[in-house]
């Protein structure tokens, strides 16, 4: 009897109640008369235990393979899948990660300004750091159930009705490849490279396949982070790129601040390191408007900040540290740009161009107190090769942090320069810890900020985690710079302390090895139509802002949204300014070229889930698309709109690998079961498409298509070669099977190599060697970011080669945001920056919809077991007082609305939610909601012009991370109880 039928009987029987025992007996008369043996005292002995095999037989399987998951999670946990007769049964964490970090006294020591500072890794009692075992959360431990749901795809589908109408025809793979290839060729010939891909899952073959395919077609790739608002452009200006230690580093903290990161719920496999840090003597502070699970169950100090005012808290802390002169002056001199000289007239750094004819742009100066003159700071981007160090003490230099210094320029003019430190101090001076300004903005009593500051100053190993939510707020850019400033003022960052962004990718040693599968970068071969080697090869080029703002025409919506909101008074720019800055940035080529999305590939990317102004975006985007291809494992709301839906193998049906920075292991997708139904691995799907394109292109005699584009910093010239696209994709057969492709990748990588590859296949994971994110993978310590700079004195990739707090880009100067300080103006008095009603009155609530622990975005979000552990329906959280005032009871249907849209959810009471917030966890597909509405129908795009800053050299240029982040959290709404 199958499971459903059993369940059905169970339900009926249950309702029949007490008579059932008897019914069961009648159904099985044999049982009624068995076991009449006498039992004396079952506490002492029980003879009849033969039945116990019943449960033993339930714990059996006939196949066990390593598995892991992608889906947009940064966990990278090795699990084992147990299956029987090809059917996945259950999974269990591999949990063989060793305790590898064991202290060698005196090994990890460092110096600042030539003075020893002792050890910078704080091990646990007994000199150890806990292991990563087990890794895996409640979602990863039921993927085997989720993948068996009837919304999962079984075979390729073609749309036969209108988009979104859900009328489908089943195709064979050959039919699908044939039809799609035909259409791609037509569009490529008409408008080469007019393709946009959004690709979500993190794995080398799956994501790599989609990106490789896109690259070969000259397409654009939307950087995932910029697309969903996970980029860290503010942090980029200070640090370059994205940083993140392996998360066992949390354990080494003596003060861990969870700031805009609910890490207990969002980093489940790693959260134990934070909890165990408390047993290692650490304190935990959680800064969040909500008394979330981390605040409730991990924090020593909960800081109930008003939403969106984090920059004020950080500014007050920095200001206090500076005013009380409790900063680490030597660290600042050596490791930051704070001593660098700034010209008062231009508001720009003093550079070699000012000082010498033909001087360089990125050679800066500080005032050396020993020689009493402005000297060239070593370690800058344009510093000579013999000065590529931050070890200024060895060079006999001692820069001034404070003061004004007269400098004679090359043209003979004298200017009185000041330092970045002075400018920073000046910018922060008004944010006093006990000021009305800070209190009104943050809602925090001064005693809370004082305690937080004291704990920070007391800390010998300060770690701040800054999750994805920071930069989704209007003042996120400056908030992040200020948080980094706290770590630098206290001399912590890259030394005994650390800054943890959430990050999901890295390059392995061996150049492009990790990216090799993503981006074909093969040497020139005449048959590929490439004249000579092209750096970057045929990789897709990334475009951060285009997807929503350009193709989705979202600024028009922004104007309507903020029509009655005095935005400019409050934050210094309004929707018209956003548009003007955007036009300027495009005209000045601060952004890459953008081509229309005639071909759109949605690779396991549920775009509707993550689109601000979802409905509006769909209405503007879809008409621009001539061919919409979806590759996915299940029928998401986004797949419902596709022209072709290709049934990809699930994470348990393929052979693949993945990496992230959360842990130091490369992890294997070990094909838990063979592909079921008509599913194919992503790598093979794109190979199949390439093959069909190549065959058709050859038959038609299509020649190499010249193609060029601006990538944000330079013009790239290349070709699109449809007649060799398959040969290029599989590298003439080198990569034609998933197993060969994985091995090729690993052997290319110095961080893994042959030994690592064998270990990966044997154990399900392999530990990396060599460089991590601005620090190394060590055999006996966490890979801590920024140690190359701080410990090894190697300049970082910022223009100043240091932690950089001054940005002299024209946009920063125009908006007076060169140094870290809150971006809000004097007019703002705290609370979130939300739109006003058409009549100009404010909305009473603001929406908050961060990540959920019950899904990886929309993945898993509809799983029955997970839904039964929630409310079974789409729900939101309200403060009980608000519910009483509004006459809303638990599980009542609530309409959430503003002048842009509405959505519906059931109410759940949560006293941990402040009264002004309507809180939900994100990820719901709109087809789960009443009237198919979505919370993303209420919010809108907000562009911070600072994030549009670009150029052709240095680090303030367009990258996938240093680009306009999607900012959408401060949505003003009202609520009402409705039927349903």
């Amino acid at each position: 009897m199958d499971q459903e039928a059993m369940t059905e009987i169970g339900r009926r029987s249950f309702l029949k109640g007490t008579g059932l025992g008897l019914l069961a007996l009648l159904a099985d008369p044999g049982r009624a008369f068995s076991k009449i043996q006498v039992v004396e005292d079952p506490l002492q002995e029980y003879e009849y235990r033969g039945w116990e095999d019943l449960y033993r037989k339930e714990w059996t399987w006939d196949r066990v393979q390593y598995v892991t998951h992608s889906l947009g999670c940064v966990g990278k946990c090795s699990l084992k899948l147990y299956s029987k007769n090809g059917i996945p049964l259950r999974e269990e964490q591999t949990a063989t990660y060793p305790v590898y970090a064991i202290r060698t006294p005196g090994k990890y020591t460092y110096e600042i300004m030539g003075k020893p500072r002792g050890e910078y890794i704080r091990y646990g009692p007994g000199g150890k750091i806990p292991s990563f075992s087990p890794r895996g959360c409640q979602k990863g431990c039921l993927y085997s159930d989720w993948m068996k749901q009837s919304d999962f795809l079984k075979y390729p589908l073609k749309r036969v009705g209108e988009r979104g109408e859900r009328k489908w025809k089943r195709l064979t793979w050959e039919q699908a490849f044939d039809e799609i290839a035909e259409k791609i060729i037509e569009i490529e010939l008409k408008d080469p490279g007019a393709m946009v891909t959004t690709s979500r899952p993190f794995s080398q073959l799956s994501k790599g396949g989609s990106e490789r395919f896109t690259g070969l077609l000259g397409g654009q790739l939307i950087p995932v982070s910029a697309m969903v608002g996970d980029a860290y452009p503010g942090g980029h200006t200070a640090l370059i790129g994205r940083v993140g230690s392996t998360l066992d580093d949390w354990f080494t903290a003596d003060l861990l601040i969870g700031w805009t990161q609910n890490f207990t719920a969002m980093r489940m496999p790693d959260a134990h390191f934070a909890k165990e840090a408390k047993d290692n003597g650490a304190r935990i502070i959680v800064v969040d408007p909500n008394h979330n699970v981390t605040a409730a169950q991990a924090a020593d100090l909960f800081v109930p900040i008003r939403m969106g005012s984090d920059s004020y808290l950080a500014a007050a802390i920095c200001n206090t540290i500076i005013k009380e002169k409790k900063y680490d002056a030597e660290f600042l001199k050596e490791q930051s740009d704070l001593p660098f000289l700034v010209r008062p007239d231009t508001k720009k750094f003093l550079t070699q161009k000012d000082m010498k004819p033909g001087g360089k742009e990125f050679q800066y100066y500080f005032w050396d107190t020993k020689s009493n003159q402005a000297v060239e700071a070593p370690g800058c981007l344009d510093s000579p090769a013999d000065k590529k160090t931050l070890n200024i003490a060895r060079l006999g230099l001692d820069p001034a942090l404070e003061g004004r210094f007269t400098v004679r320029l090359a043209d003979g003019k004298e200017v009185e320069c000041t330092t970045v430190f002075e400018k920073t101090k000046e910018g922060l001076a008004r944010y006093n810890l006990d000021s009305d300004l800070v209190r009104e903005a943050t809602g925090l009593h001064p005693s809370v900020i004082r305690t937080m500051t004291d704990w920070i100053l007391e800390s010998k190993s300060l770690h701040i985690t800054n999750g994805y939510n920071c930069q989704k707020h209007y003042d996120g850019y400056q908030s992040e710079r200020l948080k980094i400033l706290i770590l630098v003022l206290t001399g912590q960052l890259g030394g005994p302390g650390a800054y943890h962004q959430t990050y999901e990718g890295m390059k392995l040693e061996g150049g492009r090895a990790a990216g090799g599968l993503h981006f074909p970068d093969q040497p020139a071969r005449p048959e590929f139509g490439i004249e000579k080697p092209i750096k970057g090869g045929k990789q897709p080029y990334s475009v951060g802002i285009a997807y929503e703002v350009i193709y989705g025409d979202s600024l028009e919506r922004t104007k309507k949204y903020f029509a009655n909101t005095p935005l400019k008074e409050q934050i210094g720019f309004d929707a018209n300014d956003m548009e003007a800055f955007l036009k300027d940035a495009i005209q000045k080529k601060y952004l890459p070229s953008m081509k229309p999305p005639r071909i759109s590939l949605w690779h396991s990317c549920n775009n509707y889930r993550n689109k601000t102004g979802q409905q509006s975006w769909r209405e503007h985007y879809l008409p621009k698309v001539e061919l919409l291809i979806g590759t996915d494992i299940r029928m998401t709301s986004s797949m419902q709109s596709c022209d072709y839906v290709l049934s990809a193998a699930t994470d348990y049906e393929r052979w693949d690998i993945r990496e992230t920075t959360t842990n130091p292991f490369l992890t294997l997708y070990g094909q838990g079961v063979k592909p079921m139904f008509e599913r194919r691995s992503d790598w093979q799907i794109y190979a199949g498409l390439c093959k069909a394109i190549q065959e058709k292109a050859r038959a038609r005699g299509i020649k190499s298509i010249p193609f060029e584009y601006w990538n944000g910093t330079r013009q790239v010239k290349r070709t699109i070669d449809l007649s060799t696209i398959y040969d290029e994709y599989v590298q003439n057969g080198e990569l034609d099977s998933d197993e060969k492709a994985v091995e090729w990748h690993n052997l290319k990588s110095k961080g893994i190599g042959k030994e690592g590859h064998e270990k990966l296949v044997r154990d399900g994971y392999a530990k990396f060697r060599g460089p991590a994110k601005y620090g190394n993978y060590e055999d006996d310590a966490p890979a801590r970011s920024m140690t190359w700079q701080v410990v090894q004195k190697k300049p970082s990739g910022t223009n100043t080669g240091r932690f950089q707090f001054y940005v002299d880009h024209e946009y920063h100067i125009k908006l007076d945001q060169m140094t870290p300080k809150p971006q809000y103006t004097d007019m703002w008095r705290g609370g979130p920056q939300s739109p006003k009603r058409p009549d100009g009155s404010p909305y009473p609530f603001v929406m908050n919809f961060p990540h959920t622990k019950w899904g990886i975005h929309s993945a898993y979000r509809n799983n029955r077991w997970l839904m039964r552990l929630q409310r079974g329906d789409v729900y939101l959280y309200l403060n009980p007082k608000v519910m009483a005032e509004r006459g809303i009871k638990d599980m009542d249907m609530v309409r959430v609305y503003n002048h842009m849209g509405e959505w519906f959810a059931r109410a759940k009471e949560w006293p941990g939610n402040p009264p002004y917030i309507v809180f939900t966890e994100h990820g719901w597909d709109h087809f789960m909601t009443k009237n198919w509405t979505h919370y993303n129908n209420l919010n809108c795009e907000f562009l911070n012009p600072l994030e549009l800053a670009g150029g052709t050299r240095g680090h303030i240029v367009y990258t996938g991370n240093h680009t306009s982040n999607r900012i959408y959290y401060e949505t003003g709404v009202d609520i009402e109880k409705v039927e349903g």
Binding site: L20, L43, A296, M867, P911
Partner: protein
């Protein structure tokens, strides 16, 4: 009064480490209760306290913040605990309470509702459309509005923002030394295994009378309507007897669960319960001598009326005392943990903190079969296809 004389497995759950992630629940669900009439059961569940818990109103007393509300009852009458102990040892007890309430599926357990996932393929109106057919919770073929579930009160707790307080309480069968379910069974179909103290319902002898369900004060025995018998947490005996930790222990990413034998004085569990006395039994006053012990949670500091920070912890100790055998024991446990942490903060070593950190699996799981702390499933039940690469897997 008969007394259990066999070996006893004991567990410690460190509530300061619980992530409220429910991986334990899911691990148990997929291994044991996703089929065969067990769908509605949660042999392991995690509930937010204070609250009614799961099933709603379990216990002879209530777990809500003010103690009000319906209770399902169970346990023993006239329980007297031995004085001066922290492990809930019973000095004397009366008869088992047989008039505990039988929880109902809809009101106390929650329906195991299903979803019409196939609706995503069915043609219909596009996009935002009133009445469009979507994926909705269903029960017996009809759309349903759920009314209760195993985690219904998630994060709810009590108190006013910003002084809201809540903590999570994972619960399995306590495999009690004197189980009320066993005492209540007229068939004597419930027994305690002498080799490990695991309490089982004989799936051949049980006749489905459900006295055990009524008597268990923790409501951790469930009636299976498909088989007509009662079932409960097995402490994963098929695993444990081979040295493999129970699924909910092994799969806990918060690493908050410890297991070992009560008579193993070297084990982490023994030290936490009997040496450091930081792990306390849940409702020892019910008189069953439960064998799952909890390290009480320590919340953050509370705010005063103007938002000023105070030195008072937000989780009321009186409340914890109600759950974990008295304020005195809870206070001592909390103070001990805090004092030891402070020692470590100053650079000193602490046996307690090292145990609580539980650096590796062997530090938390001490089943000690064949001279090893624990074993892995593949060691005890190897199969032919195990960790193969595709080219070898044809």
């Amino acid at each position: 009064m008969s007394e259990f004389k066999g070996r006893q497995l004991v567990a410690v759950f460190d509530l300061n480490k619980c992530l409220e992630c429910h991986t334990c629940t899911v691990a148990c669900k997929l291994l044991w209760t996703n089929r065969s009439g067990r769908e509605y059961m949660y042999w392991n569940n995690v509930e937010s306290m204070p609250g009614y818990g799961y099933p709603k109103g379990w216990g002879a007393t209530n777990q809500t913040a003010d103690g009000s509300g319906e209770v399902l009852g169970g346990g023993f009458k006239d329980v007297v605990l031995e004085e001066g102990r922290t492990d809930g040892k019973v000095k004397s007890r009366g008869d088992v309470i047989k008039d505990g309430k039988m929880p109902s599926l809809e009101d106390h357990y929650g329906l195991p509702w299903e979803y019409n996932y196939e609706a995503v393929f069915e043609p219909g109106p596009t996009f935002e459309t009133p009445g469009a057919k979507g994926v909705r919770p269903h029960w017996q073929g009809k759309e349903v509005r759920p009314t209760w579930g195993p985690n219904w009160e998630e994060d709810q707790g009590a108190g006013e923002y910003p002084n809201h307080w809540v903590f999570s309480l994972p619960r399995i069968c306590n495999h009690c030394t004197d189980p009320a379910c066993l005492a209540a069974c007229p068939r004597k179909a419930i027994y305690k295994r002498q080799e490990d103290g695991i309490v089982l319902v004989d799936q051949e002898r049980c006749r489905g009378y459900r006295h055990c369900v009524r008597a268990c004060p923790y409501k951790k025995v469930y009636f299976n309507p498909t088989t007509g018998m009662s079932e409960k947490c097995l402490f994963c005996y098929p695993r444990v007897e081979k040295g493999v930790p129970p699924a909910c222990f092994w799969q806990c990413p918060g690493r908050m669960r410890f297991i070992g034998f009560k008579d193993d004085k070297e084990s982490a569990v023994y030290k936490l319960i009997y040496v450091w006395k930081v792990a306390l039994p849940l409702h020892p006053e019910y008189g069953t001598e439960p064998n799952v012990f909890y390290v009480p949670p320590i919340g953050s500091f509370k705010f005063g009326p103007n938002g000023e920070l105070t030195n008072e912890r937000r989780i009321p100790i009186e409340y914890l005392g109600r759950l974990l055998g008295g304020v005195e024991n809870v206070k001592r446990a909390q103070d001990t943990v805090l004092a030891e942490r402070e020692k470590v903060r100053k650079g000193e070593r602490s046996e307690l903190c090292e145990i609580l950190i539980g650096f590796d699996s062997e530090d938390r799981f001490q089943l000690k079969v064949d001279g090893v702390p624990f074993k892995r499933p593949e060691e005890v039940q190897p199969v032919k296809v195990q960790f193969r690469r595709p080219s070898e897997d044809v």
